[in-house]
């Protein structure tokens, strides 16, 4: 069983309605294939974006060194979603130490009035870590 939690965003502080989503299993038990999880998350994300001003931020935990796999899984879910055409997803992979990368994405509704500002802020954030971005 999974639980979904939304957090207030500390990432882009000047823009409202950006929420961080955290999805995790309630136990460490091995779960079957993730298709049902995808369906559930897809419904939750659909409801979340009924307010097109909302933006969804997610980061990928580096526990067990699986951040890239988690990032790829979110990407697969996103690409599988029939609502994908309604959204813009901006990905960011940043080096935060010699041996650690930070994976994050932000998803915005195409009708989000802050979309351009979010893109700019996200880019600025990336560049502050990695000027080559």
């Amino acid at each position: 069983m999974y639980e979904v939690v939304f957090l207030e965003n500390d990432f882009i502080v000047d823009i409202e309605n950006i929420f961080q989503i955290i999805i995790d299993k309630k136990t460490d038990a091995v779960e079957p294939l993730d298709f049902q999880v995808f369906i559930t998350i897809n419904v939750i994300v659909g409801v979340f974006f009924e307010n097109s001003n909302n933006a969804l931020l997610y980061t990928c935990s580096s526990e067990e060194g699986k951040e890239q796999k988690r990032f790829d899984k979110f990407d697969r879910w996103y690409n599988r979603s029939e609502n994908k055409k309604l959204f813009v997803k901006i990905d960011s992979i940043l080096p935060i130490s010699e041996d650690m990368m930070f994976y994050a994405s932000i998803i915005c509704h195409n009708d989000n009035p802050n979309l351009e500002e979010i893109k700019i802020k996200f880019k600025e954030f990336e560049e502050s870590i990695d000027p080559d971005k």
Binding site: E8, D10, N17, F19, I22, D24, L94
Partner: protein
Amino acid sequence: MINTKDHITREDRKQKALKAIYKMIEDKKSVRLYIKGEIDLKTIKERGIKFAKPI
């Protein structure tokens, strides 16, 4: 020639951004522990983590 002022500002921005990232990483670890029942809501609040109800 190195523009010290610009360099410091850039470095400050980087440190601020890194601090935000590390806070997100730590917050996420705490929330995952909360989901698994290993810490309670009081601890979450003490760590300055704010749950949200998007509408």
